[in-house]
Amino acid sequence: MTGLIAIGVAAGIVAGLLGVGGGVLFVPGLVLFVGLDQHHAEATSLLAIVPVAIVGTYRHDRYGNVRRADALALGLMSLAGAAGGVALANALSGALLRDAFAALMVVVAAQLARRSLGRGGVAHPGVEDAVAEQQEVDQRQEPGGREVDHLGGEPER
């Protein structure tokens, strides 16, 4: 139980600090430290993401950045895809799914490295799982706040 809470807090801190998403941290945390298999870890991660996304949405919405109609449309129209993705995940073996997820982690790591090494930050938001992106927005929107990218570099654009 302590391990689970520690994973949540640690993943949350890294997510808030670096703009890497919750899921890409929850899943390996649950596999490596709690011993869940890949399917259980992914499923559990999905549910754990929900409260984080709700709070993140609330924080963004205060700044009027959430385009609600589009968000609702995206959310509702994801149903078929989500069902298909879950069916696909469950059709794959744990080993294959785990290897695919490991590849995803390497891609995220590469993008994170590129972003932090790049001049002025490529700061491609596509790198990030949006669960954790709100700090970038908060920072830019703070009254009188400095415009810096979310890795503390030069202003982008």
Partner: protein
């Protein structure tokens, strides 16, 4: 009028495509899908990054919720584990966002990238 209607339906198709792709990605990998949604909102619908990020987060509430429900039907969701990870994570994100304005995050990002790669290797070999 007709042009407007055409524009509208093309926009709806794009939203549908993004939602479907994000759902697939989310369901397959157990992540939110923001890494699919944010760039596509920017590229296809002309969003700025801020609005894309915010709108993506709101969409993820539904997407992750649907995918979690679907995984629930397969009996894969560990409900208590999810609560014990997800609720403290909210506090963690707030701490991280606070730290982020006070630390030199670049070096930490590189270090963390290395940790991610090491974890990926551990996953595959472990």
């Amino acid at each position: 009028m007709q042009v407007a209607a055409e524009h509208l339906s093309r926009r709806s198709l794009k939203l549908m495509a993004i939602g479907t792709l994000a759902g697939l990605f989310s369901g397959l990998f157990g992540v939110g899908g923001g890494s699919v949604i944010v760039p596509l909102l920017v590229l296809w619908l002309g969003y700025d990054e801020r609005a894309a990020t915010a709108t993506s987060l709101a969409a993820i509430v539904f997407i992750a919720g649907f995918a979690a429900a679907a995984q629930g039907l397969y009996g894969n969701v560990r409900l208590l584990d999810a609560v014990l990870v997800g609720v403290p994570a909210v506090g963690g994100v707030l701490i991280g966002a606070w730290l982020q304005q006070r630390l030199q995050a670049r070096a930490i990002a590189l270090l963390f990238a290395a940790v991610l790669v090491a974890s990926a290797v551990e996953l595959v070999l472990g």
